[in-house]
Symmetry: C2
Subunit: 84 residues, 2 copies
Amino acid sequence: MIVVYDVEVSRVDRVRKLLRRYLNWVQNSVFEGEITVSRLTALKKELQELLKENDSVYIYTVKFPKAVKRETVGAERGGTEEFL
Amino acid sequence: MIVVYDVEVSRVDRVRKLLRRYLNWVQNSVFEGEITVSRLTALKKELQELLKENDSVYIYTVKFPKAVKRETVGAERGGTEEFL
């Protein structure tokens, strides 16, 4: 799973703290990781309560890890462990 | 394909302009789209020439479109056409 967010600056810290409880931070506004369906439901609920009108979060659900490969151009930021 | 970037603010415009020539802007520092292997090679070359030391671009290559699904929490930003 890949999650990217674009939220109002006053909410960035809270969104980042929330996402950190579920996933791994890997780049500025990007998280990766693998979570269960029930935890994804819980994450979405918490996000909906936190986000305001113009905030945007995209959740890319990956059917199986091997279907997605990550390449880095330039610096590696977060964890470099295997994608999922 | 999903591309996310985290680059020095003075280079954001140029990186965004470059990525727009290959992919679709969908959120703050996120692009999506489907490109050929040769265009991906060309894109990576242009990125390497443009990026400086601490700049970071992640390229997520998706083996086949159906393997990834995008869900939005909050606002939809860029194109809403089918993921790939």
